[in-house]
């Protein structure tokens, strides 16, 4: 083989490997970015989880309720990793967390301290099919929830005269473990409450919104982003006003005289009332 032949051959071989490698890489990334299935308690972040789960099924075998299943090829998520379908079998939140305890790689934290701290997913309610939202007294999800009174609460929604008031379930993400017992128990034909990946439904307010009334209720805590910003003389200038008091300042003062008078007289009478 002469030198030219060798160089051509080596380049062709490298090109073939690179071509295969690129296709392989694309498939790998595509599989990892597919819709995220629900994970057992104590799982690492999704990408880290799929990369450290060795797909041994030990968690599946440890689960006393046959909740966990391994993802099959061509199902959403990386094949061989554990998941569960709450409508079939939810997670019954064993205190000893046997699934996480047996994980040999740490993809599920074997030392995960408290099942109530698990975040397998987040319950979301479809008001269009939720019985409570139709004005019926259902509230099954509230009653079966293992994190009772914290993950799901009932809120009273008064309705028009001659119709029922509504007692509707509200999910609180800070306490919901995503166990799915609510989804399993929901009496509607297709569950009106479902466990989903929080990323699909959870928004984020953003640090620049000041919820004034929250400042009034609690101790005066500076908004995180604002606290981080270096204090300027301009920022210090307006005196800290409590709650909705800011509505009585600023552009309200630029209001037309008659409306201002009206407001002031209203305020006077309000003060005089009690």
């Amino acid at each position: 083989m002469d030198r030219r032949q060798f160089i051509v051959g080596a380049t062709q071989g490298t090109a073939a490997a690179a071509c295969g490698g690129l296709v392989w890489f694309a498939l790998l990334e595509q599989q990892a970015s597919a819709a995220v299935p629900l994970r057992p308690p104590g799982a690492r972040g999704e990408r880290d989880f799929t990369a450290t789960c060795i797909k041994c099924g030990l968690c599946v075998q440890a689960c006393p309720y046959d909740t966990l299943k391994l993802v099959k090829m061509a199902e959403a998520g990386v094949a061989g990793t554990p998941t569960f379908t709450p409508r079939d079998v939810p997670c019954y939140m064993c205190e000893s967390i046997p699934c996480a305890r047996v994980c040999p790689t740490g993809a599920l934290d074997p030392q995960f301290p408290d099942i109530a701290k698990a975040r397998m997913g987040l319950a979301v309610i479809d008001p269009e099919s939720c019985l409570s939202w139709q004005g019926l007294r259902c509230e099954v999800c509230y009653r079966v929830c293992p994190v009772r009174g914290k993950a799901i609460t009932i809120t009273n929604h008064p309705r028009q005269i001659s119709k029922h008031a509504m007692f509707v379930p509200v999910v609180h993400s800070e306490a919901c473990t995503g166990c799915g017992i609510c989804e399993k128990t929901c009496p509607t034909e297709a569950a009106a409450i479902r466990i989903v990946d929080p990323k699909l439904v959870q928004g984020k307010i953003g640090a620049h919104y000041r919820l004034g009334w929250k400042h009034q209720e609690g101790p005066q805590e500076p908004v995180a982003a604002e606290a981080a910003r270096p204090a300027t003389p301009e920022a210090k200038a307006p005196p800290a006003a409590g709650g909705l008091e800011y509505l009585n300042r600023g552009r309200w003062n630029a209001m037309s005289a008659p409306s201002r008078l009206k407001r002031e007289s209203f305020a006077r009478s309000a003060r005089a009332a009690p």
Binding site: A51, G57, L58, Q61, P104
Partner: protein, 314 residues
């Protein structure tokens, strides 16, 4: 090639392997195949029985998990070192258990010969052996391959798997491993794992002889590298070999039966040898046998002195 022309072979007539007519003789020829099926099926059954029928040993589950990671008797962790290596190159922190398990498994195969996994444990071996059997029935020799591929392709795939695992932080081979897929299907129920097995059966039987194990499988390539330190080897007796070549025709890794190397070292040295025992069973001159590397080497060292007396008499 000098070994080919040595006096001991050229003077002897070449006999070829013939299947014995007696049942006892047939069983003797099939003994390693039976043993391999027994071990392959036994491992699978131990996993299956523990999973589905609650088999125990000393009050502990017999063998939980699967070939990727397992626990024997509730105490002994085992893990696939290649899968763990893909995690490690992705710079993931891992729990100690899987590292210990991978270390123990690696150590065991490093002693037995890495590719003992391929011939004696891997569930895909059922499929590839069936494909090879079909090729024999159809009379398809190596010349009838549809495509040609260097057998070193698997080392490129092995390297790619590690590079991609490092680049993406994901498990490049484990994500698609047809072996893991098939094994999981056999344990947990039918799915695409059987499709993977069918694909490999078609590849091996009709497209490329020993296509998967001999050309593509990066896990086999990994075990080949580990197998270089193997202590259980196929010993080769150069004096009785007539170079009939029957072993080469049967061997899933024909290159490992290099007579020159084998004659020089007294054994099949390559880590690619799967210790399947096929060559031993069909050798018409009984020139091949399993032995320990240390004993073979010891015999080879004493060889020249020993051979001088009996060698002169023949």
């Amino acid at each position: 090639m000098s070994a080919l022309t040595s006096a001991s072979q050229s003077s002897r007539p070449v006999r070829h392997f013939e299947m014995p007519a007696s049942l006892a003789g047939k069983l003797r020829v099939w003994r390693f195949t039976f043993a391999r099926r027994l071990v392959q099926f036994g491992v699978l059954l131990a996993f299956f029985g523990t999973l589905h029928w609650g088999w125990t040993v000393f009050g502990q589950p017999l063998l939980t998990g699967n070939l990727s990671a397992a626990k024997f008797a509730g105490v002994l962790p085992l893990a696939d070192p290649f899968a763990v290596l893909q995690m490690l190159v992705g710079r993931h922190a891992l729990a100690a258990e899987v590292l210990i398990g991978a270390g123990l498994t690696l150590g065991a195969y490093a002693l037995l010969g890495g590719r003992v996994f391929c011939a004696w444990v891997c569930p895909m071996n059922f499929v590839t052996d069936a494909a090879f059997w079909l090729r024999g029935k159809l009379g398809l020799g190596s010349g009838s391959d549809l495509v040609r591929l260097p057998s070193q392709t698997r080392y490129v795939i092995l390297a790619l798997a590690l590079v991609l695992s490092a680049a993406s932080g994901l498990l490049a081979f484990e994500a698609f491993s047809p072996i893991a897929l098939l094994h999981r299907e056999l344990l947990y129920g039918v799915g695409l794992g059987l499709t993977a097995a069918l694909g490999i059966f078609l590849l091996d039987s009709l497209v490329l002889r020993h296509g998967w194990c001999g050309h593509l499988c990066p896990l086999g390539a990994f075990w080949s590298l580990v197998g270089r330190t193997g202590q259980v080897k196929v010993a080769f007796d150069d004096a009785s070999c007539t170079r009939c070549g029957d072993c080469v025709k049967l061997c899933p890794e024909p290159r490992v039966l290099h007579f020159g190397n084998a004659a020089a070292s007294g054994m099949i040295t390559s880590g690619e040898c799967t210790n399947c025992g096929g060559c031993i069973a069909i050798c018409p001159e009984s020139s091949l046998r399993f032995d320990l590397r240390a004993r073979i080497r010891g015999a080879a060292k004493r060889g020249p002195a020993n051979e001088s007396t009996p060698g002169g008499s023949t």
